[in-house]
């Protein structure tokens, strides 16, 4: 599952919109439309980072399956 690249795409698009708005040659309507979309992206990226899953560490065992892996410390 490529969940992360989605995050990466969101961030790239967010950066693009911010640059576009910053250099200003954009009509008001699309500026507002882009702004709302950008704020949505901000929220999505933030949620992604906040939703801290317990770190998932797996290990490939002898018979080729992934099993959970804990570091014995």
């Amino acid at each position: 599952m490529k969940k992360e690249t989605k995050f990466e795409d969101n961030l790239a698009e967010l950066e693009k919109i911010v640059n576009e708005l910053e250099n200003g040659e954009i009509d008001l309507d699309s500026a507002i439309e882009k702004y709302t979309k950008a704020m949505h992206l901000v929220k999505e990226c933030d949620d992604k980072l906040k939703r801290v899953e317990a770190q998932v560490n797996k290990m490939l065992n002898e018979n080729g399956e992934l099993e959970d892996f804990e570091v014995e410390n």
Partner: protein
């Protein structure tokens, strides 16, 4: 005996020292031998001697060189050394000042390393153009290292600290010993089947023999051919294995590899907040700019006092009116003037003049008429003969049966024809 020709001991030793220093062969000597009566001094300087079957030489290794040793020398270790040979004046002994020392068994490993490195370099496996770019926000990281030991612990704890939202898969592998190389290759190949964003391949610190699997050609080629971007993390900062040259990115240590592989969550959050602020500022500035612009338009005189437009028109109309009146007046004056002049005209003043004039004109015309009047001739006795209202000029015109009317100066005679006689040309004149 002349006492002045005898040298002192220190003079002779000094002389010999200079002789040794002048001889460039002795400045960089490669020596093979076995360590004996080794004494490590508290200052870190190492004192020992090197011997072979038949001979021995004193050796000293200063702390600054000794700290770079990759093994701990003891009596009996076979070593390869590189250094300078000189005399210690105080004792008159000569010794080798050792700068580099390797375990002899290691010697040929070192040679093999250099050979492989040169070969792969020539093949272009080290070219930076082949290095793949590491993803900024990896989703799933593969790790090929030993399942136990510091390396995997450091990697996982670093990832957990910096970027816990990403997943890791460990491909447990031997990292030392003869079949470690194949095991590493096998695990790299296996890792390729998983949807990994980056792969960390490495191990913790160790001697050159310990790290040797990462200098094997098979491992180097497996890393080079792997489509997943690879971060190599073999040994300590100073260890450079072939794997490090071939990998897409070299990390000094396993922890370093994890720090390179994943961004720091806090930094990412800060960055996103920054974007948010820049976003709000940008849209605020844009709207402010546009509303100001709108204000200027609103204040423009045209909208503020639209009457201005009409005033202009009004004014124009007035001007035109005025001009119109003027023209009219002028016209009237002109006509009046013209009328006056006409009135004063000589004729109007004395119209009889016209009459006289006309009378004169008339008279002239009458006189002219009189002159040309064909009837005048009648006054002189001539007469006009008509028949059926047609003037008779020649006898041929005459109709015997009709009467004639003869016009004389003061009357008309009606007559009928008795006889007609034609007069020939010659008689007529």
């Amino acid at each position: 005996m002349n006492p002045s020709k005898y040298l002192t001991v220190s003079a002779i030793n000094k002389y010999l020292k200079v002789q040794f220093e002048r001889d460039e062969h002795l400045q960089c000597v490669f020596l093979k031998g076995e360590i004996s009566n080794f004494k490590g001094h508290t200052t870190g300087h190492l004192y020992f001697s090197l011997k072979d079957e038949t001979s021995k030489i004193n050796a000293i290794m200063f702390q600054s060189y000794a700290k770079r040793l990759q093994f701990s020398p003891t009596d009996g270790t076979k070593v390869l050394v590189m250094g300078r040979i000189g005399i210690y004046e105080a004792t008159g002994n000569y010794q080798i000042y050792v700068e580099e020392m390797l375990e002899d068994g290691v010697g040929n490993l070192y040679i093999a390393y250099e050979k492989l490195k040169a070969q792969l370099q020539k093949e272009g496996l080290f070219d930076s153009s082949h290095k793949k770019i590491l993803p900024k926000y990896p989703n799933r990281i593969g790790i090929v290292t030993a399942p136990t030991g510091a390396a995997i612990k450091d990697i996982l704890s670093t990832i957990k600290r910096r970027y816990p939202i990403c997943e890791t898969i460990l491909f447990p592998s031997l990292v030392q010993g003869d079949n470690a190389a194949n095991d590493i290759v096998r695990n790299i190949k296996k890792a390729e089947q998983y949807d990994l964003d980056v792969l960390i391949v490495g191990r913790g610190g160790g001697s050159i023999e310990d790290l040797w699997p990462f200098n094997e050609e098979v491992v180097a080629r497996a890393i080079y051919d792997c489509p997943i971007p690879i971060i190599s993390a073999v040994g300590h900062e100073i260890d450079f294995t072939i794997a490090d040259f071939v990998a897409d990115h070299r990390a000094p240590t396993p922890t370093g590899a994890a720090e390179i592989a994943v961004p720091n969550l806090i930094d990412v959050q800060k960055y996103i907040n920054q974007l948010k602020i820049r976003l709000q500022e940008a849209i605020y500035k844009d709207i402010k700019y546009k509303s100001l612009y709108l204000d200027t338009i609103k204040n423009s005189f045209v909208l503020k006092t639209p009457m201005v437009l009409f005033e202009n028109r009004q004014q124009q109309i007035d001007i035109i009116n005025e001009k119109l009146n003027q023209l009219l007046l002028q016209k009237i004056d002109y006509c009046k003037l013209k009328l006056d002049t006409m009135k004063n005209h000589y004729l109007l003043k004395n119209p009889q003049q016209l009459y006289i004039e006309a009378k004169k004109q008339l008279k002239i015309i009458i006189d002219k008429l009189q002159l040309v009047n064909p009837l005048n001739i009648l006054n002189r006795g001539y007469s006009l003969t008509y028949q059926a209202n047609k003037i008779i000029k020649v006898v041929e015109d005459i109709d015997m049966n009709k009467d004639l009317s003869i016009k004389i100066s003061n009357g008309i005679i009606e007559a009928n024809i008795v006889k007609v006689e034609e007069i020939k040309d010659e008689e007529r004149n």
